[in-house]
Amino acid sequence: MALNTPAGGFFASRLDRMIGWARKYSIFQYPFVTACCGMEYMATACSHYDVDRFGAGMPRFSPRQADVLFVVGTISHKLAPTLKMIYDQMCEPKWVVAFGVCTCTGGFYDNYATVMGIDTIIPVDVYIPGCPPRPETVLDGLMKLQEKIQMGGGGQGSGNWAADN
């Protein structure tokens, strides 16, 4: 079958769009799970809600193999350098999701031990509020992340998006 190409033999298309489409359906996530939100993360990841529908079904437990850092649960000052190191180890392009209200703002903690939102340490792309967020909220956040990846945005905390609660 002959390809219908314009004169000159080139395609007029949007390569970045195609790359964005491919990227948003192959999200390799690194779950940085520290607290009770992890249960809700697992509920979302398992068959009932099934993040594999969004191409995000294969968590990697090495930051060097991951595109998206899911920070799930309270981050203490003691742990903060580790989180920063994990983020620095990830390859570009990379995105960060703040999962649960503790990672967004510190949540109900306001004390000597807790980081008041991980965006004081690393850039965040999507905020998912809730204590813990329901799986529907998580999926909404995931779809917003996909939208952002499709648009070629992100990495480096370009514009902050929040899941609808």
């Binding site: 003691k78 903060a80 004390n111 008041m116 340490i121 850039p123």
Partner: protein, 158 residues
């Protein structure tokens, strides 16, 4: 009066500031220098057999003299009874004898009390912070630790 309180009163009357029963649990306020021998008696007396050290913690009473109280909870697994010992400690140079020679489990409890309240345990084999990180200044559960003080290790980016 329970057998625990009776025995404590008979054998250690001079070391006790107070003893009694509150909300169904026995307690005794013990001089801090006698805490090791009182605990050992609780453990080794065949009528008491407190073989389980449940918890070691402390309370900061900023208005009181002495300022701190170190609190020990004991439980007897064979006899199913429990007792609470409290040892008042002065605020200027707080130190109490360690219970690690008697209960290995006291190790991390006492490190936590040191970390949170700054109370030293004489004779502890490895008294260093357990919850907070190296370089943390002060003891956060003391009432005079400023409630808004933050010591981040990775600086605020914004």
């Amino acid at each position: 009066m329970s057998v625990t309180l009776r025995k404590l009163k008979e054998n250690f009357g001079g070391a006790l500031f107070d003893l009694g029963s509150a909300f169904g649990d026995d307690f005794a306020v013990v001089h801090k220098d006698r805490i090791v021998e009182v605990s050992q008696a609780l453990r080794d007396d065949p009528d008491l057999r407190y073989n389980f050290l449940i918890d070691v913690t402390a309370v900061d009473y900023p208005q009181r003299r002495p300022r701190f109280e170190v609190v020990y909870h004991f439980f007897s697994l064979p006899l199913r009874h429990r007792v609470r010992l409290k040892a008042p400690v002065d605020g200027s140079d707080p130190e109490v004898p360690s219970l690690v020679p008697l209960w290995k489990g006291a190790d991390w409890f006492e490190r936590e009390v040191w970390d949170m309240f700054g109370i030293r345990f004489a004779g502890h084999p490895d008294l260093r912070r357990i919850l907070m990180y190296d370089g943390f200044e002060g003891h956060p559960l003391r009432k005079d630790y400023p409630v808004n003080r933050r010591q981040p290790r990775v600086g605020p980016r914004n």
